[in-house]
């Protein structure tokens, strides 16, 4: 059995083995073995030049990755969590995302920035948020959310093959997820959403750490006779609008599950897109399950109540599938 963490490491190893321009840097990626043990063993295998521990200077080391990328390297920058990435947001939004455009197409910024996201481990309000949509808002960035082992291993390799800055969100609760992972590490498609479970009665549209919850919800719903299709967005920018619309054209009903806060969420963008594209084909109002609008609380019962979970998804899906 392979864990999601192992799959991420396999992707990193393959990237470092296959391209001399690739190097990894970030806080505690080397001696410590990675905050979440994702890069464990890579320092020993590839050495200090290519697995670089950085000072706690998010803006400097993310910007450093951007500059090295423009100057011909393929840096992989690890930021411990999305909350910490806000310290580097200037570099990501004002530099990485803009330089191709501002230079009239002369420059490209093939940097990959990986970060952990998501709640569920009682880490409270500065280590738990899902801020993917902040980056998905920005033209010039590619935003990826691997939710499966194959994607955890292959999205990094695919991102390195593009010349665009890419941000990869790794959900902390997925790290210990286990499954069979076969074959060699290979780049996966990063253009398209994927149907993880087919169904005819409604579409559950989700990504990242909410995918297993949606699949579990779909199993429960099936026991009640409701067949839910689970669509994994995979790429949060650009969004696979065609796949989203196609799924809802089939099912005519949709529930969006997004661990971000509801207001101005990715869920809001998807619902707006559905209103624009498939409004007259809908059989029920669109719905969403998001996180409660509070900074994430520490206490377990409160954190649980704030997050999308299987019972909430099942209940919301029932309402969409069988409107009163």
């Amino acid at each position: 059995m392979t864990t999601y963490r192992d799959a991420l490491r396999q992707g990193l190893r393959a990237a470092l083995q296959r391209d001399a321009r690739v190097f990894l840097m970030g806080e505690d990626v080397g001696r410590y073995g990675g905050t979440y043990a994702v890069s464990k063993g890579l320092l020993e295998e590839f050495g200090e030049q290519r697995v670089r521990d950085t000072p706690l200077s998010e803006s400097a080391f993310v910007g450093c990755g951007i500059g090295a990328a423009i100057n011909g390297m393929k840096p992989i920058v690890e930021v411990m969590t999305v909350n910490f990435s806000l310290l580097a947001m200037d570099q990501i939004v004002n530099n990485a995302a803009t330089l191709r455009h501002m230079s009239g197409g002369q420059l490209s910024v093939p940097v990959v920035i990986r970060m952990t996201t998501g709640a569920g481990r009682q880490l409270a309000a500065q280590h738990s948020h899902s801020l993917e949509v902040w980056y998905a808002h920005v033209p010039g960035l590619r935003v990826l959310a691997p939710a499966t082992l194959v994607d955890a291993r292959g999205m990094l390799l695919a991102a390195l093959q593009t010349s665009d800055p890419a941000i990869i969100f790794e959900h902390a609760l997925l790290l210990n997820a286990e499954g069979e992972l076969e074959g060699d590490a290979a780049a996966v498609d990063i253009e398209h959403a994927a149907v993880r479970r087919p169904g005819r009665d409604l579409s559950l549209i989700t990504y990242g750490g909410s995918l297993p919850r949606c699949v579990a919800a779909a199993v429960e719903l099936a026991a009640e006779g409701i067949e839910a299709e689970v669509l994994d967005l995979r790429s949060l920018r650009p969004l696979d609008v065609a796949a989203i619309a196609a799924s809802v054209r089939r099912t005519r009903r949709a529930l969006v599950v997004d661990e971000g806060w509801k207001t101005c969420s990715l869920a809001a963008e998807i619902m707006a897109t559905l209103v624009e594209q498939v409004f007259y084909e809908l059989d029920a109002p669109l719905a969403r399950v998001c996180s409660a609008e509070v900074p994430m609380p520490y206490a377990k019962h409160l954190e649980d109540a704030a997050l999308p979970n299987v019972p909430r998804i099942v209940a919301a899906a029932r309402d969409v599938a069988r409107p009163r």
Partner: protein, 321 residues
């Protein structure tokens, strides 16, 4: 000053190119041909004119939003810079950047950054790439003294010194961060001390003296290129014009500006040459510069606007769906 007659003529020509170009830009701004922000470098020309040629063509250069002089001194064709100001697709950034975002990858001139201090981390990355490849190329980054208050200055100085990156940190200290005087924004106004606290060599030089700028920069480039890690160089200078075209200059006195104008680097070089009996033939240099500017304006005027169908171009490698 220790300058050969040829060097003196070339430095004067480069300073006059920058000054006359910008004077013309200010006029064109008044005519509405140039819009957006326009930050003039007038008064500070000795730095770009004398420092930039000390870099090799294969070194990398990053700069601020007050970068017309650096771009011109780096060899970005004047007509491409002017066309950029006009927003034409013949501009050096195809009209997507404007005055604050001049780029020319073929001259390894990487902008044109309008976030104070924001280019410094990237410049460290340019230097890291060279270090990893084992070349002797360096990266140089201009920034103003205002950037010293930004975390990016300190984070980059620490990282570059820790990793001994071939990074040249070039601080143009014109005493005002927009309208905020250095002593009103720094607890310690000795900028070199801050750099030295990261265990990098730091030198301060008279930025109004073109010969001093050249010598100090030459030594700094040699220091960084020879593998001694980063270096900080402070050019003490002064901006004669307003911060931008929207600045009524309430924060400094006319007397102060007039006092500094007596240290004009162009007048100083001409005076120095006269004293040394070196014939510079200023009128001939002025004529050459005027011709170049006239041609640049004509090129920009004749330039074309990018078709609206191309609006979403150059956002991603492949067009986003």
């Amino acid at each position: 000053m220790k300058l050969s007659p040829d060097d003196a003529r070339e430095l004067l020509r480069q300073m006059l190119r920058i000054r006359r170009f910008e004077e013309r830009c200010a006029e064109l701004y008044g005519e509405g041909k140039i819009r957006g922000f326009l930050h003039l470098y007038i008064g500070e020309e000795a730095i770009a004119a004398a420092a930039v040629p000390e870099l090799r063509a294969d070194d990398s250069l990053l700069a601020t939003y007050r970068e017309h002089g650096h771009a011109l001194a780096r060899g970005v064709p004047m007509e491409r810079v002017m066309a950029e100001m006009f927003g034409k697709q013949e501009g050096c950034s195809r009209g997507r950047g404007g005055s604050m975002h001049l780029f020319d990858a073929s001259h390894r001139f990487f902008g044109g950054s309008a976030i104070v201090g924001g280019a410094l981390p990237m410049a460290a990355g340019f230097a890291l790439a060279e270090q990893l490849r084992g070349t002797d190329r360096i990266a140089a980054c201009f920034f103003g003294e205002g950037a010293v208050a930004e975390g990016e200055f300190h984070e980059t100085a620490n990282l570059a010194a820790l990793w001994r990156l071939p990074l040249l940190m070039l601080c143009e200290n014109n005493l005002y961060a927009m309208g905020t005087a250095l002593q009103r924004s720094e607890s310690d106004t000795d900028l070199c001390e801050k750099a030295r606290s990261y265990r990098m060599k730091a030198v301060s030089v008279d930025g109004m003296n073109v010969s001093a700028v050249r010598d100090a920069t030459r030594a700094a480039v040699a220091h960084v290129r020879s593998g001694h890690g980063p270096m900080f160089l402070e050019y003490r200078t002064y901006r004669f014009r307003a911060h931008s075209m929207f600045d009524p200059e309430l924060y400094r006195s006319k007397a102060e500006v007039e006092q500094w104008k007596r240290h004009c680097p162009i007048a100083a070089l001409i005076e120095h040459a006269r004293a040394m009996g070196v014939a510079l033939d200023v009128p001939a240099i002025e004529r050459g510069v005027a011709d170049e500017i006239t041609a640049a304006v004509a090129y920009a005027e004749a330039g074309t606007l990018e078709p609206l169908a191309d609006l979403a171009r150059d956002v991603m490698t492949e067009p986003a769906r």
